[in-house]
């Protein structure tokens, strides 16, 4: 038998794809974790339909999971996959456009039946030709029948047997990419600890898949991707929603406060609530409310009672929270609202990513209702921005909205875990002198009021949604309202004193400044680096602080001949910048496909703008 073809790669993207019931998310996650443990840097992108079980075999029901890993810093899950694992014809159809030219397609040949071609709405019985995939390496693997054969001696019903199919594919891919199976084995043993037969079946199929790869190696290329040189430390794989939840936990511990989350389940933000509900060991009070409104209202109540109080949601839920968010602006209570953005408007694209809630966050309330807006930019930095959101809220007595998105929330990457000692202190503005206390007395520097909570003796006071004077009495005085409106705005602006200045990736001046914000960071930096490598005078300004903007924003912008603002909406940040940093021409790159940018399309756009 001749040796397999060995291909050494800097980075490789694999896409696992099948019916939503085929276990593709688990398969992808296990492979990603294995790669991260091996020392590769990774970035993942789960892409699934909003129906839990859409009709089997149809393109609409295809669930995908893409992971890119490599020997260097990986900032995106990859525009195009090098390898596609397709469990049925629909998966090939759904992913054909996302394949690297000449890539490898491993498919379950057993599922390539006339019936399934029909379900996937192929016109012929030759899907590869129909999709113009002639030049790709296609490896037919009888995954279904091999799985059945593998398990014929175990007394399992047909359904349970078929559920093991994904392990065959996973075993095969592990062989192709030279991944050890021990981590996956451990996972299976733990997950099915109480069902030894199921555990045995999954393990057997996993190994048979691996061995199958070895046995047919003349047909399959084997890839080698070396570990990435990264920072020393302890690492774990983390997704954005878990990182967000843990950021709040860290802030609670650092500030010495208890953590309360009042929330309502909504895709793709539910994991934040779940992750915190799990942490009763750290004293988290999680309150699953009857609706989005009660989610934020219980949160406001907990803040009034002296907790670090947070709520999580996504676009439609954020809309429902707006009135109560206005109350937290008026009452000047420290709460954090996380909006894991998804495609809108209305129900929109619940499982797909978008950045279209920016203007809703900035302006979507009645009255002059300013608050702090922060955006995380990678799955793991959700931890730090959640932490910082809490710090700002508690120290400045102001509501903070943290914007993440479906791409960050569900995407994962390896993360060097910090020690708590690395994080800056958090000093809540608890009132200290009952003699001097008035509810709306302010620190002259920060304009933050003091926080006195029920149970503190001598500070009894009333707050509410009505306009107040400094003493806390209801006031309809025209001068008072005018001044307070300005104070509430100025208080938010003063947060600029505690955030870092805008830093550029690249030279401080040049032909093109690429501007982005939030979850597009990975694709933005990859595309800007590609331009820089090609000798172009392009720099990146990526924003995490939206309101207030970093103080030096206008100055940084002034040093470039052209500015382009890239975002996954029709240009919301661009219009905000036109207002806040006027007098400049802002080019725009916008995408509303429920998908992240691709590096390729960004580069193409930047080149056009440079030539224009």
């Amino acid at each position: 038998m001749k040796d397999a073809k060995v291909i050494e790669l800097e980075e490789v993207a694999i896409r696992f794809s099948g019916d939503s019931g085929d276990g593709m998310q688990l398969t992808g996650t296990l492979f990603s974790d294995t790669s991260a443990l091996l020392g590769n840097d990774i970035s993942t992108f789960p892409d699934y339909p909003s129906e839990i079980r859409a009709p089997q075999g149809t393109v609409g029901g295809v669930s995908g999971f893409q992971v890119q890993f490599g020997k260097k810093k990986i900032t995106t899950p990859g525009d195009l996959a090098h390898v596609l694992v397709a469990m049925n014809p629909a998966a090939v159809k759904a992913n054909a456009a996302f394949m690297n030219p000449g890539g490898t397609i491993i498919f379950d040949v057993d599922s390539f039946s006339e019936k399934n071609f029909e379900k996937a709405q192929f016109k012929t019985n030759d899907p590869f030709t129909e999709l113009k995939l002639e030049d790709f390496i296609k490896i037919p693997v009888p995954i279904t029948s091999m799985t059945k054969e593998s398990l014929k001696d175990l007394e399992l019903d047909n359904k349970s047997v078929l559920r093991c199919k994904n392990m065959f594919a996973l075993g095969l891919i592990c062989w192709m990419f030279d991944r050890p199976l021990d981590y996956i084995e451990g996972f299976i043993q733990k997950k099915f600890g109480k069902k030894p037969v199921i555990a045995e079946a999954n393990l057997k199929v996993l190994h048979d898949g691996y061995n199958y790869g070895m046995n047919i190696q003349q047909a399959t290329p084997q890839y080698i991707v070396h570990p990435a040189p990264i920072e020393k430390g302890t690492y774990r794989n983390i997704n954005g929603n878990l990182a967000t939840a843990w950021g709040f936990l860290a802030a609670a511990e650092k500030s010495g406060l208890e953590l309360f989350i009042g929330s309502y389940p909504i895709t793709p933000a539910t994991d934040v609530l779940q992750a915190l509900a799990e942490r009763k060991d750290l004293g988290v009070k999680s309150f699953q409310a009857e609706d989005e409104i009660a989610g934020i209202c219980t949160t406001i109540g907990a803040a009034f009672a002296g907790h670090l109080a947070v709520t999580s949601t996504s676009g439609p839920g954020f809309a429902l929270k707006s009135e109560a968010l206005g109350l937290s602006v008026m009452a000047e209570l420290p709460i954090v609202v996380v909006n894991v953005q998804r495609g809108g408007p209305s129900t929109g694209l619940p499982t797909k990513t978008e950045q279209s809630d920016l203007l809703q966050t900035l302006y979507g309330r009645n009255g002059e209702s300013p608050l702090v807006v922060i955006a995380a930019s990678t799955p793991s930095d959700c931890f730090y921005y959640a932490y910082l959101s809490a710090k700002i809220a508690l120290e400045r007595m102001v509501p903070v909205v943290l914007l993440t998105d479906g791409f960050l929330g569900n995407g994962s990457e390896p993360w060097r875990v910090p020690a708590m000692a690395e994080l800056p202190p958090i000093t809540p503005r608890k009132a200290t002198n009952p003699e001097l206390f008035k509810p709306y007395n302010r620190d002259p520097e920060t304009l933050a009021r003091e926080w006195a909570v029920p149970g503190m003796e001598g500070y009894e006071h009333r707050i509410g949604g009505l306009e107040k004077n400094a003493a806390g009495a209801v006031s309809h005085d025209p001068e008072n309202h005018h001044i307070n409106t300005e104070i509430r705005a100025a208080k938010v602006e003063k947060v600029a004193d505690m955030i870092p200045e805008l830093e550029l990736v690249g030279e401080p001046e040049g032909d093109l400044l690429v501007v982005g914000w939030g979850g597009t960071y990975g694709h933005m930096i990859s595309s800007v680096r590609a331009m820089q490598d090609a000798g172009k005078k392009v720099s990146l300004a990526h924003f995490n602080y939206i309101k207030p903007l970093p103080k030096n924003t206008a100055e940084v912008f002034s040093k470039f001949k052209k500015i382009v603002v890239c975002e996954l909406n029709l240009g919301q940040f661009a219009s905000y910048l036109r207002d806040k940093v006027p007098g400049l021409h802002y080019y725009q790159v916008n995408k509303m496909k429920g998908l992240p940018f691709s590096v390729h399309e960004l580069v193409e756009n930047f080149e056009k703008i440079l030539e224009a």
């Binding site: 309150f287 009660a294 910090p418 509410g464 009495a473």
Partner: protein
């Protein structure tokens, strides 16, 4: 012996009370302040939370911690307050529009969860603050500014809604009967769990006299049945009328007629989980029946805020992770320490977070 020797005055704030002269809210507030003084709980541990409506101005007139929130959400906000700090004594002040219309969802879920709050539902069957529109407790046919030809919808019976939401405590009182209101509020305050007290309150401007037929002190004995735990359900000027069950239905009988004696009269047991009878009492209406007043239902059940606390204590007693550093290092982690690795850069380095 009392610890604090508070009087009602200790619970009054300096703010000028701005309800209309003659408004039923004054009497209710007096009863609340007296009740709080009698509870002998530290002043600092009271919090009064309200929504929007005339009655919701209440917290400003109290000297305790107070939060005047937004329309319909007092129940939700108070739920957060009490869950965060179960040591507080939390009162919710709300009205028929606030709690049963815009805040209906939060109201039923508060009751279902049985959070230890005392809720006073000021029921004047009208929107007062917006100047006279019909409310969810307005009777069918009510003529108001938004129903100039009469409403074509049936009203909520608040007690039904409370019991339908698995409420553990429901009581009813009349604003002008301050002494009775106070007795009922004291019982509500003692109840572990959500206690809902419906107070029939008069809006002198937009619905004056709406409860008169029931509330008129002259006919109080004939038209109201004051329920007391362990006592027969007797009413009437001569204490000669009572309730019995006949074929599963309540019936008013006269003691001494048709061989009926005091012993035949139903005895009130608010502590028993007898939903059927308690709902029947709630539903009683003139002229066939007297209107039931007092504590109609008061049963024991797990209390949400206490259960939340207990669950955390239970989990913590056998926890493997006790602080953030341990959590961060738990589970699937791996160490990177190769030759080609660089020293870690702390995220907050070079950034001005003091």
């Amino acid at each position: 012996m009392t610890k604090f020797n508070y009087t009602a005055k200790d619970f009054k704030s300096a703010a000028e009370v701005r309800w209309c002269p003659g408004c039923g809210d004054y009497a209710i507030m007096n009863a609340v302040q007296k009740t709080m003084a009698d509870m002998d709980i530290a002043h600092k541990d009271f919090a009064v939370i309200s929504g929007i409506g005339c009655s919701s101005r209440f917290p400003y007139y109290m000297s305790t911690y107070g939060f005047h929130t937004i329309h319909g959400r007092a129940t939700a906000i108070a739920s957060g307050v009490k869950s965060a700090n179960p040591a507080l004594t939390v009162w919710v002040i709300t009205g028929d529009g606030d709690s049963l219309a815009i805040g209906g969802n939060h109201f039923i879920h508060l009751v279902r969860r049985n959070i230890d709050l005392n809720l006073i539902l000021f029921n004047n069957k009208i929107y007062g603050l917006t100047k006279g529109q019909y409310s969810p407790t307005s009777d069918r046919g009510k003529i108001s500014k938004t129903s100039p030809f009469g409403t074509i919808e049936d009203s909520f019976v608040p007690g039904q809604l409370v019991l339908g939401s698995r409420g553990t405590f429901f009581a009813r009182a009349v604003d002008s009967n301050v002494k009775h209101t106070q007795e009922i509020l004291a019982e509500a305050a003692q109840h572990q769990g959500t206690s809902v007290v419906e107070v029939l309150q008069n809006c002198v401007i937009f619905n004056d006299g709406i409860h008169d037929f029931v509330a008129d002190p002259k006919f109080r004995a004939e038209r109201q049945l004051f329920l007391k735990k362990g006592e027969p359900m007797i009413f009437g000027e001569q204490e000669d009328k009572g309730l019995i069950l006949e074929n599963g239905h309540l019936k008013v009988v006269k003691i001494g007629e048709n061989g009926i004696t005091r012993d035949d009269i139903l005895v009130h047991h608010p502590e028993e989980d007898n939903l059927g009878l308690q709902v029947a009492l709630i539903n009683m209406a003139l002229p066939e029946f007297p209107v039931a007043m007092g504590v109609i239902r008061s049963v024991e059940a797990p209390v949400y805020d206490q259960e939340m606390k207990k669950q955390i204590e239970t989990v913590q007693s056998k926890r493997k992770v006790s602080c953030m550093d341990e959590l961060l290092q738990s589970g699937n982690t791996w160490t990177v320490d190769g030759e080609n690795c660089s020293e870690p850069v702390k995220f907050f380095d070079n950034k001005c977070f003091g």
